[in-house]
């Protein structure tokens, strides 16, 4: 199944979006967004994988060993950092929303006007 990892990617995006749409709590919704974003790790690492390839670290393996693509791994690292930053910012928005409106239910928040 050469396409199986990519089906997993679509599944993670779908289940995360479903959670965001049906969420009744802002913190839950933020966690669902993290789930959606984590699909990109599977996609990136799936794209760069080489069958039988070693990790791109040539500390204790010979220099010409067949290894996986290091670029997508660096991109996945970027992805993690950005996700942490976005999550921190969104959680602080949730705190302020709760202070101001006394609720974290997106449905009730939509019907309130500041």
């Amino acid at each position: 199944m050469q396409i199986f990892p990519f089906i997993v990617v679509v599944w993670i995006v779908g289940i995360g979006l479903y959670g965001m749409v049906t969420s009744r709590h802002l913190v839950h919704q933020i966690i669902c967004l993290i789930v959606v974003q984590s699909s990109t790790y599977v996609l990136l690492l799936g794209v760069g994988y080489v069958t039988g390839g070693a990790a791109p670290y040539f500390f204790d393996i010979p220099l010409h060993t067949r290894a996986v693509d290091p670029v997508v791994q660096a991109l996945a690292l970027t992805d993690v950092v950005v996700e942490a930053a976005v999550t921190a910012l969104l959680l602080s928005f949730a705190i302020q929303a709760h202070k101001r409106f006394g609720t974290l239910d997106p449905q009730e928040l939509a019907s309130l006007r500041g």
Partner: protein, 254 residues
């Protein structure tokens, strides 16, 4: 829109999205058949060119160094944004609630087990974080990973005792300064190369002789160090900013 209607509208849309997504992804080369050549070329040239055996670190701090500057400033901007969003609203101030001060208040003390484990692990965790920060060029580590681990050590300090003590030590001011040094050091390393008539972020330091040694790989190790400072400080600020919310006392509601 009622929740059931919303769910159905979403399912119709999601089915279409999934179909197109799968259609698009099915055009990719199959799993395990990476077409190259970029990754293969890097794997071959990175160690001779930079003396860093961790090619991922070499990509992050050298070949795609300019991207990493942007990545670091996303984190920087997010922490600044948090400080703005969580500023004191009207009628809020830090202080002690009268209820907290009541003499008959039954304050649950931190359990000895939690305190001991937290204090026992703080040192080793900061050491592991430092090891990760300083070995970006050799192993799967680097400033980002190590910085987060170092910040975890400070969270353990909080777990081990009173947050007020932790807060009074004023780590926020120190962390803010360290974060600025980390972010500025990364940009400054790049500008130093420009001052020597080299391209921005070009590796201008001696590369060392042994590939993968701590002293090797020139600016990769230096930038990893600055990134470690920045990330550790940023996460200490993020956690501190969120914990500070528990100290707020609200005045009368508007």
């Amino acid at each position: 829109m009622t929740p059931p209607v919303r769910r159905w509208v979403f399912l119709v849309g999601a089915a279409g999205l999934a179909a197109f997504y799968l259609f698009g992804l099915s055009g990719l080369p199959g799993f395990g058949h990476y077409p190259g050549p970029y990754g293969f070329i890097l794997n071959r040239v990175a160690v001779p060119q930079t003396n860093a055996t961790g090619v991922v670190s070499a990509v992050n701090f050298e070949y795609r160094g300019f991207d990493t500057v942007g990545e670091e400033f996303i984190l920087f901007a997010a922490v600044a944004g948090m400080a703005v969003v969580l500023r004191h609203l009207r009628g809020e101030h830090e202080g002690r609630q009268p209820l907290d001060e009541a003499s008959d208040r039954d304050l649950p003390p931190t359990s000895d087990a939690a305190r001991m484990v937290a204090l026992l692990f703080t040192g080793p965790i900061v050491l592991i974080g430092w090891w990760l920060v300083s070995h970006a060029q050799a192993s799967p580590s680097g400033g980002f990973q190590g910085g987060v681990v170092i910040a975890t050590g400070f969270v353990l300090l909080y777990l081990s005792g009173e947050f007020r003590v932790f807060h009074r030590l004023g780590p926020a001011d120190v962390a803010a300064a360290v974060e600025a040094v980390g972010a500025g050091g990364f940009v400054g390393t790049g500008l130093a190369a420009v001052a020597m008539n080299l391209p921005y972020l070009k590796n201008f330091l001696p590369l060392g002789t042994v590939p993968g040694a701590v002293s090797s790989s020139g600016t990769i190790a230096l930038i990893s160090f600055f990134v470690g400072l920045e990330v550790a400080a940023a996460f200490i600020l993020v956690v501190g900013e969120l914990l500070k919310q528990t100290l707020l006392v609200r005045g009368k509601k508007r």
